[in-house]
Amino acid sequence: MGRTTVSGNKGHKKTAQRKLMVQSHSPKQNGNGGAKRLPSLALDTQLLRTIHKLMVTSRVLEERLIKIYKIGEAYFWIGGPGEEAFGVPLGLLVDKGQGVNHDWLHMHYRATPTLVAMGMPLIDSIRLMRNRATDVSTGGRNFSNHYCYPKWNVAPVSSPIEVQYSQCIGTAWAQRRRKAKGITIVTGGDAGTAEGDFATCLVWASRPKNELPLLMTVQNNKWGISTSYETQHGEKHTSDRGKAFGIKTSVINGNDPIESYLALQEAMQYVRDNTKPFLMEAMVSRLYGHSSASGTSFIATEDDCIKLFEEKLLRHGILKADQIKNLWTELHDECQVLSEKVKHEPPPSSDSVWDHVYANNENADWRKF
């Protein structure tokens, strides 16, 4: 277990070794009730296997997307390999559904692990990457990892950095006003916290007597494209900025899925119970660079959260080496088949550019006014 720094809203700070014996966990989507739990790994074994499988699934999917780009069959790749240990637990813990009584997600373009954990069909991501007409998120109009799933309250991902931190306050406000069961979750990177939208989020989330049920997360990979965090940020932790607003904060090892799971579970419960914001900073890796603009080569010097997790699972006998190998192989094969299938699906037609400018396809072409 890594060590997690938790800071209360009165400015005091404590460093606590998380309890290894965990509160009961029964996420519906895991079906793990009654499964054996190893105290030293804090979560029950079936859940650990589920998390591992989802992490590998997300990684293999992303690597397939990168391959599609590298062989010249897509224009651009951006995604989330290296963030699986944080993104997958988030996806498992979210109260998935539509409407204010379910959780709302405002994510950035490294959201594949979360969407995979929520149950996104892998083919959806490939269709988005290949900008097919069948792409359910954008109909071939936007980049990879720019997901949109209204049925799960997944707000559309957009490229401008950090704007989701300004938009998320609106869904959180609607949830507060309606005294709804759902909370709002916003994710983003460390570089984007320099934008004013991050400050907007802190201010609006903590207005006295109008605090928002909002989990703010920052996945700190210490990079903004080619510029390192250390050269641009004087604050030790991004999450420290929350303390000035009386917002409860934490810094976690986002490369450890167990720590991420427990920290997210605790933070989400805090937000749900108290209708107050929480700011979590997860230290993560960026394993294939920023995007296809920065090479998409595997960066061996960064911690690989899946490799580390697999070593732990092997050490505790939760998975065997051949099981792991077979899983990777099966997923590689599956993604390859899906990619070939999608390759032959139709692109959006050129005359569809005017579709959906306005609701109900009301005419937007001034030539036809």
């Binding site: 109009r141 609607a174 004013g196 609701a359 109900n360 001034w366």
Partner: protein
């Protein structure tokens, strides 16, 4: 008769009472002030925000994502410019999600010069607004239209920018809003907050009726056959005055109040130009890449052989700002005498 601020206020009351508006918010929009132009006094769903325009637009976007209806105010359009990328996103959200996400939201903001508001209370936003595809853009020229356009904006499933000509917000109308008491003193007693302590004050709203002006529908405010002025906002009043004066001299000028900038009523404009053969596009935004230029190009392209003169655009000078002194402001945005000179030159132009 109600002024435009009262008309907007009554429309918002109707919206929050009968049309499901859940939030009306912005800087100083809630009690005790009720907006710097009093357009939000006494409403039950108003609230004050931090002084953060990006937060206001972001908040409105998020509320709209949940399906709730909101009206957000940017106190002056001079302060909307730091939200341009958020406005772009709002405009492209329905499109880029392939029709999955609609954002029914209204953003209202006072625009234009005319009150000697110096550089940062005089900007126009109409040319910028028409470069935000996915938004609908409206601008009323009188209280009744403000009421009808606001109700249409609230009902519309798309984002709508409601541009308020700030110089007209205190100008009374000439037509009653359905349900408005005929006695304007009575209206004032009913819905205007008192000066001083307002903590115990509650408005007595008249029994208002639903009155909608379809977005995209222009109105001919003066009929004539010798030239057409196509305009909107406060310059409708200027154009009307010019047309009235010229009519007394026997010159018939047709004035079209666009009311909606996008989508716009090209059929009404086209019909008028075909009748008069001459057209002046008039507004106060800066003249380079002005919305009137788009209309002038279209008029030229589509009606070239029916024109008796080249279409003209009269707009604000291409200056960095509107200077405070009247000598400066009045030489920066079109005044009545500028319009008179331009339209007379157009009328007298011989092909």
């Amino acid at each position: 008769m109600a002024n435009m601020a009262q008309a907007v206020r009554m429309a918002l009351h109707y919206g929050e009472t009968y049309m499901g508006v859940t939030d009306i918010f912005g800087e100083d929009v809630g009690a005790p002030m009720g907006g710097v132009f009093t357009a939000t006094q006494g409403l039950k769903t108003t609230w004050n925000t931090p002084l953060d325009e990006r937060g206001i637009i972001g908040m409105a976007t998020g509320i709209a994502m949940t399906g709730d209806r909101c009206v957000a105010e940017i106190q002056f359009c001079d302060y909307i410019f730091n939200t341009i990328d958020l406005l772009k996103i709002v405009g492209n959200t329905h499109w880029v999600t392939n029709g999955q996400v609609t954002l029914p939201m209204v953003v209202m903001t006072p625009v234009g010069a005319g009150i000697f508001g110096s550089i940062y209370h005089s900007h126009s936003f109409d040319a910028w607004a028409t470069r935000l595809p996915g938004w609908k853009v409206v601008m009323p020229s009188n209280p009744l239209d403000a009421y009808g356009l606001m109700l249409s904006a609230i009902e519309d499933p798309n984002p709508v920018l409601f541009l308020e000509p700030k110089a007209l917000l205190r100008v009374k109308g000439t037509e009653l809003i359905p349900g408005e008491p005929a006695d304007e003193k009575k209206l004032k007693m009913m819905i205007d907050a008192p000066l001083g302590d307002r903590t115990k004050w509650t408005p007595q709203w008249p029994k208002l009726e639903k009155y909608m002006i379809p977005i995209g529908e222009a109105k001919i405010t003066r009929e004539g056959s010798q030239a057409t002025i196509v305009t909107y906002g406060r310059h409708v009043l200027v154009a009307n005055q010019v047309a009235d004066e010229l009519l007394r001299q026997g010159v018939g000028i047709e004035v079209i109040d666009m009311r909606s900038l996008y989508p716009y009523d090209w059929q009404a404009i086209k019909k008028s130009i075909k009748k008069t053969g001459k057209v002046l596009f008039l507004n106060e935004d800066t003249e380079v890449t002005n919305f009137g230029e788009h209309l002038a190009l279209r008029a030229t392209s589509e009606l070239f052989y029916e024109l008796q003169a080249a279409p003209r655009v009269l707009a604000g000078k291409n200056l960095p700002g509107i200077g405070l002194h009247p000598n400066l402001e009045e030489n920066s945005v079109p005044q009545k005498h500028h319009v008179m000179e331009e339209i007379q030159a157009l009328v007298n132009e011989v092909p």
